[in-house]
């Protein structure tokens, strides 16, 4: 029933933009230490331009069929649909873990060192399961509230750091050695293309400028965060993990200092919304929207992956590897949708042939 509910595509992209912004909120040591703001911005926009490429197959599918990949898979290739569903379930479990690990790590390091990372993950996953049962429509409505909250938090964070800006280092170009790694890091928002590939069928009023605007606004947010980290925190940022968190901590208005509680709330809600959308996509791939029978096993799997990372360093390294994420995203957002574009074309060609030969 929830599968048939259609909502504004603008709202979907507003939600996807907030999901993309979660990447920078959880930023830690992963970015290169080139020290140049200009190269950082080049990395941001190159990464986001590549992310847009990931949207193209799903955009074509949506424009031509007004359906999404998962609907096509179930209608045109019922046998392969099971394999596709399993792949997307595994992909979303990987990506959910990719986000949960830095979030739980930051939460436990910065706020409650005595609380286990797994407990935080368990609580967040439980909330996500509840949200996923309500469907993508409700989650995107929550996105509107989150957008307003994100605006307030960013205003406080950037406004409160304005007086601390120090340009004595100038606008250095930086060291190009880490540029490739940084571009790959900023390709991480391409996971939103996979969500779009799975939920596009539920959106109405889609235009191509929507993903472009969403990615441009994400790029603007990333650039602002990098600008303030570089010029308000300076070298101090290089010594600290989770630099965006430190940025929220130094924001001050007169005697009042630190908006880290706002930052924590924003990061929590962004991760919550992202993981909930992943669960919704998994439900959609199984053709059972909002079903606990699909969400609970997926949630348990995600939790087990989190648990595994606690005891196994190799597993943690694999589950937070930006190159693996990019490779899997490429398959999920480009390879499979392109295959289904061919399937759809073949089906149409056969249909037209049938119509022509019938008389």
């Amino acid at each position: 029933m929830k599968d048939r509910v259609r909502f504004s595509s603008k709202r979907l992209f507003l939600t996807l933009m907030l999901c993309a912004c979660a990447v920078i909120l959880l930023q830690n040591y992963s970015l290169g230490r080139g020290g140049g703001f200009i190269l950082d911005v080049i990395a941001v926009f190159s990464g986001l331009a590549l992310s847009f490429v990931f949207f193209i197959p799903s955009i074509i599918l949506k424009k031509k069929t007004d359906a999404d990949l998962l609907m096509l898979a179930r209608q045109r290739t019922p046998r392969a649909a099971v394999a596709v569903s399993i792949f997307y379930a595994a992909y979303f479990a990987y990506t959910a873990t990719f986000f949960l690990i830095p979030y739980t790590d930051m939460f436990s390091k910065k706020y409650y060192p005595e609380v286990s990372r797994c407990v935080i993950a368990l609580l967040l996953i439980a909330a996500c399961v509840y949200a996923a049962t309500k469907g993508a429509n409700v989650i995107t409505r929550f996105g509107i509230f989150l957008f307003a909250f994100a605006m307030l938090t960013n205003l406080l964070m950037f406004g409160g750091s304005l007086t601390a800006l120090d340009f004595s280092n100038g606008f250095r170009i930086g060291d190009a050695d880490s540029l490739f790694g940084d571009v790959v890091y900023f390709c991480a928002p391409s996971f939103t293309a996979v969500i779009f590939a799975c939920l596009a069928g539920q959106g109405r009023g889609f235009t191509v400028k929507q993903p472009v605007i969403a990615l441009l606004l994400s790029g603007l947010k990333y650039s602002l965060v990098l600008f303030f980290i570089r010029y308000a925190l300076g070298s101090y940022a290089d010594r600290q993990e989770y630099r965006t968190f430190v940025l929220s901590r130094v924001a001050h208005f007169g005697a009042y200092a630190g908006v880290e509680s706002f930052y924590l709330a924003l990061a929590t809600m962004s991760v919550f919304m992202t993981v909930s959308l992943f669960f919704c996509c998994v439900c959609r791939s199984a053709g059972m929207s909002g079903s606990l029978r699909v969400i609970v096993p997926e949630a348990v799997f995600v939790f087990l992956l989190n648990l595994l990372t606690k005891y196994n360093q190799t597993a943690e390294a694999l589950l937070t590897n930006k190159y693996i994420l990019l490779f899997l995203t490429f398959i999920a957002a480009v390879v499979i949708p392109v295959l289904y574009l061919f399937v759809w074309r073949k089906f149409n060609a056969e249909k037209n042939k049938h119509i022509i030969t019938e008389p």
Partner: protein, 201 residues
């Protein structure tokens, strides 16, 4: 059926959430709000002042070569639950500036629990003694520091800006210097990073 499940979940959550085995009462937690560094008989002394509402400040003094060692020693010997997350002010005797300022600010920059916008200042021996005797001294110093920053924006009053200037190893920068001649006065003192330290030695 759903009611039974919700009752069961509620009971379980009550069982698990009520356990306070590792709880720490806020009164018992040693929240440090100010640290002063002095020298006596050639030995460096770190005094950790706890957050308190009494008339006289409550401090623990340890002898150590650096802030890192002092924190470790204070935790081991006097205040096991010591919390430095609310540290607002680090006061260094002006004679110790070239010896310990860089290493201590460096240690603070590597630990995420310290607030990057806590104040760092140099001061004379009289101010240290006044700080030992009167509770309100820290508030007065903080007010004066804010005023100084307002009048002279180039003065580095917090860890963040002091650390960045020390890292830059530039020609020199200003830090606050507190003197006590009956009343507390804050002025700016120009200090130098590595180059001058070598000269001074």
């Amino acid at each position: 059926m759903p009611r039974k499940i919700s009752i069961l979940l509620l009971s379980l959550s009550l069982i698990f959430s009520s356990g306070c085995r590792n709880s720490r009462q806020i009164e018992n937690a040693a929240i440090i709000e100010n640290v002063s560094v002095t020298v006596e008989g050639g030995q460096i002394r770190y005094t950790f002042y706890r957050l308190s509402e009494g008339e006289k400040p409550w401090g623990v003094t340890v002898r150590a070569e650096s802030f890192e060692k002092a924190c470790k020693k204070a935790r081991e010997m006097y205040i096991p639950n010591m919390s430095l997350a609310k540290l607002e002010l680090l006061m260094i005797n002006e004679r110790l500036q070239s010896r310990i300022m860089k290493q201590d600010v460096e240690y603070i920059s590597q630990n995420s629990f310290f607030s990057p916008i806590a104040y760092v200042t140099l001061c004379d021996g009289k101010t240290m003694r006044k700080l030992d005797a009167e509770e309100r001294v820290q508030d007065v110093i903080e007010e004066q520091l804010i005023l100084l920053k307002k009048n002279k924006p180039q003065v580095c009053i917090d860890y963040l800006s002091v650390f960045n200037h020390l890292e830059r190893e530039c020609e020199g920068f200003y830090v606050p210097l507190i003197r006590c001649d009956g009343e507390i006065r804050v002025t700016a003192k120009r200090i130098y990073a590595d180059k001058t330290q070598k000269n001074e030695k």
